[in-house]
Amino acid sequence: MLEKIARPEEIRRWDGDMPVRHRYTPGVAGDAFFTALKDRGVLLGSRCEHCSYTYVPARLFCERCFAELAADTEVGPGGELVSFTIVFVGIEGEPLESPRTIGAVRLDGADAVVIHRVLEPGEEPLEIGERVEVVVRPDTQRTGSVLDIEGFRVGG
């Protein structure tokens, strides 16, 4: 009964989609995080003293002990490169004009790791463990978005 389909375009089929978009609002802690990023160009985390753990971005609660947390702990701008990848293809599998480097960074003062672009890594190969620094766009360009962060610059 089951045969391999060699020419999908010849199958009788119905094309469709789910006609919805989604509007994601950042929530209570997210509002504090993005407002601080936009207005002051700083990254806010949340510290749980009970669990000795600092989350970033800021969170309303500690997932380990359920304590309510404040969005009041500035982290970075310096940090440590925990891991990285170099991406050569886009989401459809198409080659990118120039490869993109994505880094996972533990910012100074934080336990959680954040993901963002690594800016112009240069000739020297990246090394896990090396120092990086967050680059925030000038205040006139900031809108309250994760893209208010330009990326991580090696060094610093």
Partner: protein, 580 residues
């Protein structure tokens, strides 16, 4: 043998439109409240059960994993279950069997829904519950299913719409006493409901529960743990769940047999032999007002077709003989889908402990039933809760050892638990929130017809309606399938059935799926096809809306041969039979 299981704590957020809180934050608010209500720290929780309805509402794939931190699941056994609208009650059943089996002593059960994320309207996500090949080409919207079921229920039993509207009035008035309610309204009248906009006749706007955001959590414990945690546990005496056929147009739309089956399972476990005497308070599922009545009958609390009279006569009021939805239900408190179902268990918990404050039903109720409904409109989920007892025990069951520590001396709260705030954003705040983004999944789908429906569509192109015969149950199945879901064997032969049929039910629909008005009303109908034991959804034509009746004989109007493509739309519509 199963262990006895109790609910020992409950909490919920306010049900709101456009919550400022993320789904995780809502889940945490409700979970924290539930833990605080029984003075438990998170580290006393052994396992977490979570539910949330379609991923498409929050717009987050793998929503169970996304919500896990807010549900207290970090580092714990955790599973999201999902049975559509039945999910909220089902997650309590999941918590029940996790504890009853001995796998955990204390479980947190959490239900969350954030429907405001879906743009332009959550109904867009519901469209894909319709069959993509046989139904979506007809341009359905979710209201069709409810309108079609409601019309048939009303017509078969001769029910007055006023008696159904009485349910919406009761629940919105009850909700006026609920601190978490979105749509409480103490002064609403039947006339208000009957004067509200007709969306898809007989469904009017005030017959429908509101889209909402919110979360609910309960703490479920073994007998031994429960007695340590509280002096006032509420026992889960019985649970039941059951599914009807996935082919909704092949179903009895008048009586929810699947709810009755689930109720029989739960009552049997609870030792309830006369539910009308032994159930003192009910929280049936009420996304639409007629559904509460439909479900009260499915719960065997009223004879078929008799629940509307009970609504009319005040039997279902808080002070009536069988208080139904004293919380205010989905119609009054709100309908964040999965959360709304679990809210019903939370309400029974408060009612049975005498902690429901202004909502308290009189007379110290000893036993209640909560129920929800969903999936492809085919699942019933039922939980019986009571002050005493639990499932019947057997002689082989070991005596439960005495509690190691005396019960905590927490007297019943003098005032009803206040709802944890959830902050409702105005539409302007929602549109302009700092950090908000709008996006779409951007996935498109191509559905192929499969074996049975492929042949059915070939038949339509030739002007024939085809069914499949099962020679064990002697049914001719339309829409056809290659296997019989009752006998679970291959069906035997193709049968050409008639091009005529009977209108089982119909609606006069005035709105599109995104609730925008239509220029001309549409006439969706479920048509049982002559010569078969089934039927399908289509639309009616060549007839005025006010001339359509249930039981009307109709015939297929085919597109011209050259215009047929092998689609459900090869039948242009059905019209009243012209051969008399």
């Amino acid at each position: 043998m199963a262990r006895r299981v109790a609910v020992v704590g409950a909490g919920m957020t306010k049900f709101v439109r456009r919550a400022q809180e993320t789904g995780k934050e809502l889940a945490w608010e409700a979970s924290r409240e539930a833990l605080a209500s029984c003075e438990l720290p998170l580290d006393r929780i052994d396992a977490v059960c979570l539910t949330s309805a379609p991923d498409a509402f929050d717009g987050v794939h793998m929503k169970g994993e996304y919500l896990s931190d807010g549900a207290g699941a970090f580092g714990r056994p955790y599973m999201r279950t999902y049975v559509g609208g039945g999910s909220g009650v089902f997650t309590a059943i999941q918590a029940y069997y996790t504890v009853a089996s001995g796998m955990a002593d204390v479980v947190l059960a959490v239900a969350e829904e954030k429907m405001s994320s879906t743009q332009p309207h959550p109904q867009g996500a519901f469209l894909t519950i319709f069959d993509n090949i046989l139904e979506r080409p007809l341009g359905p919207n979710l209201l069709w299913i409810f309108a079609l079921e409601m019309n048939r229920y009303m017509t078969v039993h001769g029910i007055d719409k006023r008696d159904i509207a009485a349910v919406a009035v009761k629940n919105k008035r009850n909700a006026a006493d609920h601190p978490a309610a979105l749509l409480g309204q103490a002064d609403i009248t039947i006339e208000d409901v009957l004067a509200s906009e007709t969306l898809a006749w007989p469904v009017q706007r005030l017959d429908v529960s509101p889209i909402s955001d919110g979360a609910v959590a309960i703490v479920v414990a073994s007998e031994e743990a429960a007695k340590q945690i509280t002096s006032d546990p509420v026992w889960i005496q019985g649970v039941g769940w059951n599914l009807d056929t996935a082919y909704w147009t092949n179903r009895d739309l008048v009586f929810p047999e699947y709810v009755a089956n689930a109720a029989r399972m739960a009552y049997g476990m609870a030792g309830v032999t006369e539910p009308r005497k032994q159930i003192h308070v009910a929280e049936p599922y009420d996304p639409f007002d007629y559904k509460e009545l439909h479900h009260l009958e499915g719960l065997l609390l009223f004879d078929k077709g008799k629940a509307p009279e009970a609504a009319r006569d005040g039997v279902l009021d808080r002070k009536g003989d069988l208080p139904s939805c004293p919380s205010g239900g989905l119609l009054g408190v709100g309908n964040p889908i999965a959360a709304a179902g679990l809210m019903k268990l939370a309400e029974l918990f408060w009612q049975l402990r005498g902690e429901a404050g202004a909502r308290q039903v009189p007379g110290t109720p000893e036993r209640g039933v909560a129920q929800a409904w969903g999936d492809l409109m085919q699942v019933g989920t039922v939980v019986v809760m009571g002050r005493e007892g639990g499932p019947p025990t057997t002689a082989t069951q070991l005596e439960t050892p005495p509690a190691a520590t005396p019960p905590a001396a927490t007297p019943p709260a003098a005032t009803p638990p206040a709802a944890t705030p959830a902050t409702s954003l105005s539409d302007a705040e929602f549109r302009s929130a700092t950090g908000a983004v709008e996006d779409e999944i951007g996935a498109k789908y191509a559905w192929d017809a499969g074996v049975a429906i492929g042949r059915f569509l070939d038949g339509l192109r030739e002007g024939k309606i085809l069914g499949r015969e099962c020679r064990v149950c002697h049914r001719v199945l339309v829409p056809p399938r290659m296997f019989c879901e009752r006998d679970f064997r291959g069906t035997d032969a193709w049968v050409q059935v008639e091009n005529t049929g009977v209108v089982q039910t119909f609606s006069i629909c005035n709105v599109r799926w995104d609730m925008q008005p239509l220029d001309e009303p549409e006439l969706p109908a479920v048509i049982s096809i002559d010569g078969s034991n089934g039927g399908f959804l289509h639309t009616l034509g060549e007839v005025k809306p006010d001339e359509v009746t249930i039981g009307m004989k109709v015939e297929a109007v085919w597109k011209p041969v050259g215009e047929r493509t092998g689609s459900i739309l090869d039948i242009a519509y059905f019209r009243p039979r012209t051969d008399g």
